[in-house]
């Protein structure tokens, strides 16, 4: 079975090829069957490979299947070779499994798309799965780079899928520019690895890493991490991800939440042998993750666009994963990657379902009260929200807890505190979004303002009317939701803390990562669990208080100095603290972070880079004056300079 590993990427590639060529001639149902079938079959093969791997002796669970020599260079060669070990196997399952569900969901979601757009969409989606699998399976940095570049390309194409929307076009451009900055670092890292080790093969590099000067390893790992920062949207290169929500929602779910953006985490985990040798780089990784986590969670507090809440949340959760791999808890990072893939994909698909029902409206100011209209979406969204909020025994609870416990155990108390606060913020913003969408008074019958975001402007331009008739999405969309909901509920049991039972995952990763023993007393561990549960519950409770129980708080506070103030002082003192903490100062801080730091500075730098290059381009083109004599003069000047240099040296 392991020899058939090549089938895993080959199947989606075949699907992409067939749909690229024939999708115009084929009926729609066949296009979708081919696309979903290819990914589904790939999932089945991955599953078989997984079991084949698990059935072998646990010390030999690393398989290197070399297909052929790809590029021979002087005295070494790069093979097209696939690496199957517990790390890549888990990633395979996540990518193909979640990918398959999202493919199925897309059948319903993209139904309104015109014919060739439909075919193109599935072609890109299959191509993306192929690229992601190459990234995951490659057994050397060059193949990983291949996948890395290709997923970026697919991401760029899919963000701009609705190209006629100017936001989509500029979002695509921004994603391109920002991730390129990171890719440059990654490319240099690979180049430096090549000069240092004379090979690009993972096994060879990791075997010899200990012989290399530590400062060199630090440079290499920092360069690699630069790539991860771009691809996985960390500070300061995260700006592209919120804008990437202009793409179709299944794309946001698949690429910009569940899989591609986690490539950076995977890459760092894959290169753990290098990162372990450089404590400095690891600290950089952990702190970047921690700061990103809390910073973007803060921004998520004040977003009104549901998808943008989820986008900032994704960045924040990716920050958690980098905290994990930065402090050496690689297994915990990958564990969170997996659970996050379940619940974040589910959140996005739920949001997509809402948009489907609401004619593309995604602004929460125009949602509300959808619970009764969309019960299946409601309940699955709730499961995902509980999971991400770290509600006990849901998937996110276990993975987030393991990361926080590891941070505490490794002495990163500050990071632990940040993580804990972020957990509270996370619970708050996700339930804020949940309540505003599904509970509260419906705001869509009375509000006639134009929707802020039109995911599918085809549909809304056709139905230019304002009255919406929310309805539950078809089964082809809700069944994937249900499956993901189940996974979001039970997915965490794979990595239970030791105090609650056996940690299957930790043992599972042993062939790849050193066992990461926390050395925590049971009581400490319980205390840590309690703290994170408390943070999560507090967040949920505050969201409930603010948006359900006391929806009039802001109004009341405005009348603080009227007569009612004295009367109700006793009752409202908690509101006072709350408002100070979360509404007044907190709100201002979040708005400041978003509108100044995010939009002006970091975003501005990304745009500025593009503008500067464009200006340079205009200058260089103005030299091309069209006058042959001017060209000849410049040639003469250059000649004199070249000769001068040669003579005077």
């Amino acid at each position: 079975m392991i020899n058939s590993l090549w089938l895993i990427p080959a199947l989606p590639l075949a699907g992409a090829t067939i749909n690229a060529i024939f999708s115009r001639k084929l009926p729609r149902w066949l296009v979708s069957v081919i696309a979903c079938g290819a990914v589904g079959a790939s999932f089945v093969v991955s599953l078989l490979a997984f079991f084949a791997m698990q059935s072998t002796d646990e010390h030999h669970r690393v398989f290197n299947v070399s297909l052929f020599t790809w590029i021979p260079v002087a005295d070494f060669k790069v093979d097209v070779a696939f690496l199957l070990d517990p790390l890549s196997a888990l990633m395979l399952l996540v990518v193909t499994g979640v990918g398959f569900l999202i493919h199925v969901y897309s059948i319903g979601y993209m139904d309104a798309e015109r014919d060739d757009g439909y075919g193109h969409f599935f072609t890109y989606l299959n191509l993306f799965i192929f690229s992601m699998l190459m990234l995951v399976l490659g057994s050397n940095y060059l193949l990983m780079y291949v996948g890395w570049e290709l997923v970026g390309l697919c991401s760029y194409l899919l963000i701009s899928f609705w190209f006629h929307k100017p936001e989509a076009a500029s979002a695509g451009k921004k994603a391109f520019i920002t991730t390129r900055v990171g890719d440059f670092g990654f490319g240099l890292g690979v180049l430096l690895i090549f000069t240092t080790f004379g090979t690009l093969d993972f096994a060879d590099i990791f075997a010899h890493a200990k012989l290399i000067d530590q400062s060199l390893i630090t440079i290499i790992t920092l360069l690699l991490f630069a790539g991860a920062v771009g691809k996985s949207a960390q500070i300061p290169l995260y700006v592209w991800l919120p804008d990437a929500m202009e793409g179709p929602t299944p794309v946001s779910a698949l690429i910009h939440a569940a899989t591609m953006v986690t490539a950076g985490v995977y890459m760092v985990a894959r290169s753990h042998a290098l990162f372990e040798l450089s404590p400095f780089s690891s600290e950089v990784v952990a702190w970047t993750g921690a700061l990103t986590a809390i910073y973007t969670a803060t921004i998520a507090l004040v977003q009104m666009d549901l998808k943008r809440v989820l986008a900032y949340s994704t960045i924040s959760q990716l920050g958690y994963m980098f905290v994990a791999v930065g402090i050496g808890a690689y297994g915990a990072g990958i564990f969170h990657l997996m659970t996050h893939a379940f619940f974040k994909a589910l959140l996005f698909l739920g949001a997509g379902s809402v948009m489907h029902a609401m004619n593309g409206i995604i602004d929460m100011r125009q949602l509300g009260g959808l619970r009764a209209k969309m019960p299946r979406t409601y309940i699955t969204f709730l499961a995902a929200a509980l999971a991400i909020a770290g509600f006990p025994f849901f998937a996110g609870f276990f993975s987030k807890d393991e990361i926080l416990a590891s941070a505490f155990a490794t002495g990163h108390t500050a990071i632990w505190v940040i993580g804990l606060i972020t957990a509270g913020l996370t619970a708050f913003y996700i339930f804020r979004a949940f309540f505003l969408t599904f509970h509260t008074e419906p705001r869509w019958t009375t509000d006639d303002r134009r929707p802020l975001t039109e995911d599918d402007s085809h549909r809304s331009s056709v139905n230019g009317h304002r009255s919406v008739h929310p309805h539950e999405s078809p089964a082809v969309m809700t069944i994937p939701l249900a499956i993901l909901a189940v996974l979001s509920v039970i997915g965490g049991f794979a990595g239970m803390p030791k105090v609650m039972g056996a940690n299957f995952l930790e043992h599972y990763f042993e062939p790849v990562f050193k066992p990461h023993d926390l050395h925590l007393a049971a009581s400490t561990e319980w205390m840590l669990i309690g703290a994170s549960v408390a943070a999560g519950l507090l967040g949920i409770a505050l969201a409930y208080w603010f948006y359900i129980a006391r929806p009039t708080i802001p109004v009341t506070l405005a009348r603080r100095f009227s007569g009612i103030y004295n009367l109700l002082w006793h009752k409202y003192w908690i509101d006072e603290i709350y408002s100070w903490l979360f509404v007044d100062k907190g709100y201002r801080l979040a708005m400041f972070l978003w509108q100044v730091l995010d939009v002006k500075i970091i975003d501005g730098a990304a745009n500025g880079l593009g503008r500067a290059t464009a200006a340079l381009s205009r200058v260089t083109r103005s030299w091309q004056s069209g006058y042959a004599r001017a060209y000849a003069l410049m040639m003469l000047i250059a000649t004199v300079i070249v000769l001068g240099w040669l003579i005077l040296r």
Binding site: H120, H164, R180, G187, L191, L616, M635, L646
Partner: protein, 480 residues
């Protein structure tokens, strides 16, 4: 005095000889071919190119020199000969219908292409500066005329004039450089120059000669700041001609460039490597940056070809066996890819009307999915996306540079290739993401053009997925 004729080993120049004979035959056949059948002259030319390719393969592996060491048939030269023949054959395929659509279907078109090919082959296999100069002229003169071939079009004539004036200007520098090298060493033979240099290393005349020679080569391969002619000429010349000269001239001129500097002037390597490294940086950067905002596809490809010359120059700076083989591989990959890209422009043009602006490509994927997909793949290969030929080529060149201690140059190369992806993706996005532009929906793609595109596509993908045979072939090296 007695005359002793040197070794007239005609076998060694067989490929050039066959092409030259073909050109003469086509020239004579032109007289008796009635106007509607002119395309058969092109077919005749194709047959000649195929026979020449066969002869080239026959010479493989047994390096030999002839005419008193003026030309050689070593694997380096033969590889380039094959690249040139391939490029010429594909561009004739592209031209067969093109010349008719543009109402320039005269047999002389093929004659001039074939003579240019003779010049290119001789340039790539010459080991004597005088032969290199004559071959350079033999390839340039037909190209000046071909650039101006569409006389009814003022742009074509403008391209011809600019190419001619600047080309002749740079030729004079080149020739003057040869004069100084001759003065400094008493010979124009590359190996003998190297010998003379070994005896007398600090030779100022030779340094001037090398500098002027560099200017001449830099012009032909379009290195910044000697590139000015390129965008204008590529833009104005008929597209089929642009396609031909964008690949053939590069292969031939780079062949002679490498040979002259690596065989004759390695003793000066310390001096010229730095100059060339600086030129490589300028070339890559300016080429890519200028292409960023270009809205005209032909000009964009012109700037792109400038940038690619910069990448290849890195291989020359790297020297060594891996530098040499990576440059050969890159030239092959570039030839296939670039011809494919220009071929797609030709394929989707409507009579004399071509899709010159990027916005003209809107929705092309919906109307012509196959051509659009191929064009997209060629663009991706030019951008260096894996696993296509362009990626392999860049990887080989950058790793050759790293291997020889020019890592900083490779870093700039990587940065440039990342930037370049931006403008290569623009036509793709346009084709796939936007609405079709009215007035471009009644094109019948000429089957021969489609054939050329498919052949180029196969090459581009094969060189990306399984480049080993080509890399092995490219490691032949010079006959010194």
């Amino acid at each position: 005095m007695s005359l002793s004729v040197p070794d007239l080993n005609f076998r060694v120049i067989a490929p050039a000889l066959i092409v030259a004979l073909t050109a003469l035959i086509v020239l004579l056949a032109e007289l008796v071919t009635p106007a509607p059948r002119k395309r058969w002259l092109g077919v005749l030319g194709l047959i000649g190119l195929l026979i020449a390719a066969g002869a080239t393969v026959g010479l493989w592996g047994a390096p030999a020199s002839a005419f008193g060491g003026m030309v050689v048939a070593d694997n380096f030269g033969l590889f380039l000969t094959l690249v040139i023949l391939l490029g010429a054959a594909l561009s004739i395929l592209l031209a067969l219908d093109f010349v008719r659509a543009h109402r320039v279907d005269q047999g002389e078109y093929y004659v001039l292409v074939l003579f240019a090919v003779v010049g290119m082959i001789l340039m790539a296999t010459a080991t004597d500066l005088i032969v290199i100069f004559l071959a350079l002229e033999l390839l340039s003169l037909p190209l000046y005329i071909l650039a101006a071939f569409k006389r009814a079009d003022a742009r074509s004539l403008e391209a011809g004039l600019k190419y001619f004036l600047l080309g002749a200007f740079s030729s004079a520098f080149f020739l003057y450089g040869i004069a100084f090298i001759f003065g400094g060493t008493g010979t124009t033979n590359l190996m003998k120059i190297a010998d003379a240099l070994a005896k007398n290393p600090r030779n100022d005349l030779l340094l001037v000669g090398a500098g002027l020679l560099l200017v001449g080569f830099a012009f032909k391969v379009a290195l910044v700041p000697f590139h000015w002619w390129t965008p204008d000429v590529y833009d104005g010349a008929p597209t089929a001609v642009t396609a031909f000269m964008s690949v053939g001239v590069k292969a031939a001129a780079f062949g002679a460039f490498f040979r002259a500097f690596l065989v004759a002037l390695p003793a000066f390597a310390f001096d010229w490597r730095i100059v060339l490294a600086a030129l490589a940086v300028l070339t890559m950067t300016l080429g890519n940056v200028a292409a960023l905002l270009q809205s005209n596809v032909k000009r964009m490809l012109a700037y792109s070809s400038i940038a690619h010359a910069g990448y290849i120059l890195i291989a020359l700076v790297a020297m060594g066996a891996s530098g040499l083989s990576s440059a050969l591989f890159y030239l092959l990959a570039y030839t296939l890819t670039n011809l494919g890209a220009f071929g797609a422009v030709i394929a989707l043009s409507d009579g004399e009307r071509e899709r010159l602006e990027i916005r003209d490509w809107g929705g092309a994927a919906r109307q012509y999915p196959f051509i659009a997909a191929m064009f997209a793949i060629f663009m991706l290969s030019l951008a260096g996306f894996p696993p296509l030929a362009g990626f392999t080529g860049k990887f080989l060149i950058f790793s050759a540079a790293v291997e020889t201690g020019w890592a900083w140059l490779a870093v700039i190369g990587v940065l440039n290739s990342l930037v370049s992806a931006y403008f290569y993706l623009r036509p793709i996005v346009q084709m796939y993401m936007s609405e079709p532009v009215p007035g471009w929906d009644r094109i019948r793609v000429a089957p021969l053009v489609a054939l050329a595109l498919v052949l180029a596509l196969i090459g581009v993908i094969a060189l990306g997925l399984y480049p080993t045979p080509a890399i092995v072939m490219a490691t032949g090296g010079f006959l010194r």
